[in-house]
Amino acid sequence: MNIYIASLFEGFWLNIRLFILTLVMSIPLGLVITFGSMSKFRPLRWLVRTFVWIIRGTPLMLQLFVVLYSPGLLFGVPMKSRMTAAIIAFVVNYAAYLSEIYRGGIESIPKGQYEAGAVLGMTKSQVFFKVILLQVVKRIVPPMSNEIITLTKDTALARVIGIAEIIMCAERFTKQGLIWPLFSTGLFFLVFNGVLTLVLGWLERKLDYFKV
């Protein structure tokens, strides 16, 4: 019994690591992509939007395989670690989704807010950081919450490139005739997402003091 549970925890630790690393890196990378896709320089905008279209338009599972195999098969330098491959694929994939959420948030702020700041003598960066940013954050918390919760479950996909995440660990036990480890993986996700929901709900309430 303890062996089983220890194995599940070990598997879930990989899910959590992948989740945290993806989040920490894709949140800022997404902002960079947003600036690219909103750039006034047309070729850059076009390039970035095409990139986002490809990433969002193809399966994450395919992207995992591409990141794992193409360095070795195309350039003769095999990917050293499967976890690195998974992290790269997840970060790029999520950054593309997040960038579109950011873009929607930034574009939803009325032009009047920028103009009001400008006529009061603020610089462009003062307007963005002192006036616009917090309004954007408030608007994107609900769609971000959705993505973040989806990400916890997407981490299970890493098994397709051989990462022994929790569901892969549990499935091994079915060969011994055991189904409960598989069922209990659901509990891990439920508890984790329950905590996440509470944290994100708290953040949403923290920003409730003003309306946009």
Binding site: P110, Q113, G117, A118, V119, L120, G121, V131, K211
Partner: protein, 264 residues
């Protein structure tokens, strides 16, 4: 010397020339109302003065200093524009208060940011902050909002929000305060409180340009009225003339239609 001289300003958007060869001047302490139907170019004129639009031709002179000359590309540089803008204040039709700041913070924010550029900022930081806050409180008091300092915009009525916006513009002490249809977004029962504040500013000889559809108000508070139609200045003069006894046919037509529609 007039405080503001606008000469031959034109602005086009694509193929449409929105304002055409506009010239007028404004004396210190004068209140000028700009009237005309929607699409006549009134708002664009105001936006040109505040550098929210760049005129294609013409010059703008404040206190004898040319602050904009369409022929001189130097007068369009970002840094220069930011300073020149401060000659003007602008009150928007839709208030555009910053929702995450209280009434008081809305009024102090820009001043606090500008103060950072002062050479004595580091030594006198807390003193400067106190000055800005007490100045903001005085102004909010003068527009009747001393009890709403800590309210956020969504907790205020439209009329109160617009009065905060007026206070916010006044706090930077502009030479010329511009209003872009300040009561058009308000319920009729709330326009009075905003017009009262503007009237008090006129009595205290604040230099103002008011784009408005409130004819009787314009007639009462203005020293001069400018009637625009299709981008041109059609008629300019004291309100008794332009609104009371218009000389131009187009002004007459506009006012007839206005008063026929049940306005007064």
């Amino acid at each position: 010397m007039p405080i503001l001289e606008v000469k031959n300003i034109s602005k086009r958007f694509g193929d449409t020339e929105v304002i055409k060869d506009i010239s007028f001047s404004l004396e210190k302490g004068e209140t000028l109302s700009v009237i005309g139907s929607s699409g006549s170019g009134k708002t664009t004129l105001l936006r040109c003065l505040n550098f929210l639009e760049t005129p294609d031709a013409g010059t703008i002179t404040v206190n004898g200093e040319v602050i904009f000359d369409a022929a001189d590309p130097m007068s369009r540089s970002e840094k220069g524009i930011r300073e020149k803008r401060l000659h003007f204040g602008l009150v928007f039709q839709s208030f555009n208060l910053f929702p995450q700041y209280t009434a008081l913070q809305n009024v102090t924010l820009a001043g606090m940011l500008l103060a950072k550029e002062r050479p004595d900022y580091k030594e006198r930081k807390s003193q400067i902050h106190e000055e800005i806050i007490s100045n903001a409180k005085t102004i909010l008091d003068s527009v009747g909002l001393s009890s709403k300092l800590d309210n956020y915009p969504h907790q205020l009525s439209g009329g109160q929000q617009q009065r905060v916006a007026i206070a916010r513009a006044l706090a930077l002490n502009p030479d010329i305060l511009c209003f872009d249809e300040p009561t058009s977004a308000l319920d009729p029962e709330l326009t009075g409180e905003v017009l009262r504040v503007i009237r008090e500013l006129a009595e205290r000889k604040t230099t103002m340009i008011i784009v408005t559809h409130e004819m009787s108000f314009a007639r009462q508070v203005s020293d001069n009225v400018l009637f625009m139609d299709e981008g041109f200045v059609v008629e300019y003069g004291p309100p008794e003339q332009v609104i009371g006894n218009p000389q131009e046919d187009r002004t007459k037509q506009f006012l007839e239609r206005y008063f026929e529609n049940g306005n007064n």
